[in-house]
């Protein structure tokens, strides 16, 4: 019945064990719970399901949802329908990995530790940074914690964030900063880009971190030239949230002087899963490592000189430093990071570049085709990577309803995030989309209104 087969004790075991303990009943083991707080009834939960019944129930719930396998998706805003190689699931499904805890005992955790070390290395190869951690919860929390790192490194308490950074990330940032009494100020946008002169006006010696996103939330490629020099001129820190899949084509953030690079790693072979678990990427120049939150794996040797890996620099972390720790993060997204590492290893430099190129080409084709339609225009001009914004001739929610009839998951409505942008949508086009799928989308848009 139900899940009781997960509990191996037999009645006989229990009797023997209670005797060994020296109590006469199970009740005696709970006698330390004061009567007043004891639950005087049984919990009221739905009656237990057998494994097959549970499968059926969950399968029914799952079948009520639309998804990337029965729809063609043009949704983005941080989570995308990228191709996921089959190898990933088979590796992350090895239970020596997925049923282990954080590798506190390195001698029997070399698998996870080496995988983290390799993940850190590949993240640094992509970003041009010198250290990376084992993961943060998601892109949003990585932005917030990265901004805090900047405050720690500069001993300042105010950050500037561009309005072209994902509004979802900015919401998390605001929340983190508000509660600990740190200040966030927004840099306005001009034509969809970070307004450079506003940034320069607001910049000062009180600013800890300047936060930009590349490509920005609208898919636009920001001009990064000269920004780092200006930020560093005030001894502040430049934090960039980057899409890892753009980096084979776009400048490594190190090339334009970024100090901390964060980002959402979902594109690296991670199922979208209705928005979680995701993968917060965090990397930095090595001089910031003491302020970096989270687990970090490092290389060392054993008693006989064999190379091995351990969690290191742990004096940064909550379990040692307690209230002085830069962050409280403990559990992270290790298995997701493992999947991302398998992705990067399988794709290699060529595969990653091909993915990036196809995103770029296919998105450009879609953008050009859509904006050629009457009633559909660029919201913002300029180069985009895999996302772009267009104004549509009507309510985006209605348009998406219509697209859904053709099993198309349309674009993301921008109005909830940018009230000034009415009837504007953000479309994402990944390497998975075909010309035919894009053409179908375009036809549907053309036939609307």
């Amino acid at each position: 019945m139900g899940g009781k087969h997960y509990l191996p004790l037999t009645d006989e075991d229990r009797r023997e064990m209670l005797a060994e303990i020296g109590v006469s009943s199970v009740e005696d083991l709970f006698s330390d719970i004061p009567r007043e707080v004891r639950l005087q009834r049984e919990l009221e939960l739905p009656s237990p399901l057998s494994e097959y019944e549970a499968f059926k129930h969950l399968n029914e719930l799952a079948s009520k949802n639309k998804h990337f396998n029965n729809c063609v998706s043009f949704m983005g805003a941080g989570v995308y329908d990228h191709f996921i190689p089959a190898v990933i699931k088979h590796i992350t499904g090895r239970s020596e990995f997925y049923t282990s805890y954080t590798p506190y005992q390195p001698e029997i955790s070399q698998g996870v530790l080496q995988a983290i070390f390799e993940y850190q290395t590949m993240i640094c190869q992509l970003t041009g940074m010198e250290v990376a951690n084992a993961s943060m919860y998601d892109g949003g929390t990585a932005v917030a914690e990265g901004a805090v790192m900047g405050c720690g490194a500069t001993r300042r308490s105010k950050v500037l964030v561009s309005r072209s950074v994902s509004p979802l990330y900015r919401a998390v940032l605001d929340n983190y900063f508000n509660s600990r009494g740190l200040e966030v100020e927004e840099i306005p946008i001009k034509d969809g880009y970070t307004d450079r002169s506003e940034l320069e006006n607001k910049m000062g010696d009180d600013i800890a971190t300047v936060i930009l996103q590349q490509p920005n939330f609208f898919g636009l490629v920001e001009d990064m030239e000269g920004i780092a020099d200006m930020v560093h001129g005030h001894k502040a820190v430049l934090l960039v949230s980057a899409d890892p899949l753009s980096l084979p084509l776009l400048q490594a953030p190190s090339e334009y002087g970024a100090d901390i690079v964060v980002g959402e790693g979902q594109g690296l072979g991670v199922p979208a899963s209705f928005g979680g678990p995701l993968l917060g990427i965090m990397a930095a120049k090595s001089k910031f490592v003491r302020q970096m939150p989270g687990r970090i794996a490092g290389e060392t040797v054993d008693s006989e000189g064999n190379r091995g890996y351990v969690l290191t620099l742990q004096t940064r972390e909550q379990h040692i430093r307690r209230e002085k720790a830069p962050s409280n993060i403990c559990s992270n997204e290790a298995l997701v990071a493992l999947g991302a590492a398998v992705y990067m290893a399988a794709m290699g430099p060529q595969g990653m570049r091909e993915v990036a190129e196809q995103c770029l080409q296919k998105a450009a084709y879609a953008r050009e085709s859509i904006t050629a339609l009457k009633g559909y225009d660029d919201v913002y001009a300029g180069s985009t990577f895999k996302e772009f914004t267009v104004t549509v001739p009507g309510d985006p929610a209605e348009l998406n309803k219509k697209l859904l009839e053709k099993n198309i998951l349309g674009g993301v409505d921008l109005a909830p995030f940018y009230p000034e942008l009415k009837n504007a949508m953000l479309f994402a086009v990944t390497e998975k989309r075909t010309k035919e799928e894009i053409d179908t989308l375009v036809r549907e848009l053309e036939g609307w209104k």
Binding site: L39, P48, L58, N65, Q114, N175, Q318, L335, G348
Partner: protein, 487 residues
Amino acid sequence: MRKSKALLFEMSRPGRRGYSLPSNDVPEKSLDELLPRKAQRSEPLELPELSEVGVVRHYTELSTRNFGVDTGFYPLGSCTMKYNPKINEEVAVLPGFAFMHPCQPEETTQGALELLYNFEQGLKELTAMDRFTMQPAAGAHGELTGLMVIQAYHRSRGDHNRNKVLIPLSAHGTNPATVSMAGYEVVQIPCDDRGLVDLDALKEAVDETTAALMLTNPSTLGLFEEEIIPMAKAVHEVGGLLYYDGANLNAIMGYTRPGDMGFDVVHLNIHKTLSTPHGGGGPGSGPVGVKERLIPFLPVPLVSKEEDRFYLDYDVPETIGKMHSFYGNFGVAIKAYTYMRMMGAEGLKEASTDAVINANYLMSLLKKTYYVPYDRICKHEFIVSAKPEKKKGAGAGDIAKALLDRNFHPPTVYFPLIVDEALMIEPNDTEAKETLDAFAATMEQIAKDIDEDAEKVAHGPYNTVVGRLDEVRAVRNPVLIWQKDKE
């Protein structure tokens, strides 16, 4: 059998490929037409190049160098390393869950929202809370969410002088770290000689600057805080709130509920109590539940129901905002919900019963050989102090290494900080009596080995793929990534 394993980078061969992509079927433009030259990458991308089979063999070998719950007994205290049911893994990857975009129109997400809604109803009943958010991605993230909600509540009442959060000395490190992150000051409350929070010290410490008391009950010593009622009263009387760190809920399901004990806010580590795997460090999930008066402050969106329709509810008047880019670790919630549905009320209570029987049984076996500083009925875990063994030359950490040689995952060591040479042992509900007997016998043997040759024990392990690793060197000379020119 000792050997290190080559890194991906050392196996890379130029031109080798491990992927297959469709070809680009749209009219192609030159790169320079699509991206400004100066925005293009000029640094070469140095990722490794491997074949698919090369990748698979590499990671398969790595997996053999790792120990999980499926490998063997894993009594890692505070972490609740119970068995992770396989059905959970199967349902979480159903395409109707795994391949959903978080911004899909509501009518295409009804199954997912229904699951989250019903999961919430279960969590409410389990904890006696009135509403839950699923946004926190782990326990510590839940702690931060909870403290932010508490802060927003006090601020909404114009109560701006509450700048302190009380935590017992035995608290998990995430508790004090969270307190600072939320902008509060930590006030440490000592434990009495029974290992329980010192009630007099608590009464002494509370005043109108107290924002909250953070507590896990049972505590990290595995002991139920018997004086929870007067403790709650003392905090509530000065206008403070009670925060429950639910990492240890596995001991009390169906017996008592945080809400009934007087707690106002709760986080659960569903990757502990509700059987979802730890993944080598994550993903977890840390839903936060609150009592009625705190609902207006929860993060947005909540999941609500109107007639037969489920929806993401942004109508939370005084919300703290967002804690996660989307709705938290949905993929983990699926697994915990499945577990809850399979266990039902009776099964969950039996899990707690067995967790507590196993812990008390193992304690009673071990105390024949080892020093148990709090020798009384425990809940799901207990503490052994290896102080006597340490005097002989091998302490808690060395005992842990000796266990590695005998195919057991060791207990948590050197935590809680208030016990010298602590070994924190949590056997869990999913272990058989024979496993505990074998573990106890092994621990007894290790004690004998220490008596005979402590020096030898202090230099273990001997049978693992690498020997004891030099953690000091890793800190002194940090090598945090592989570098081509350094090899």
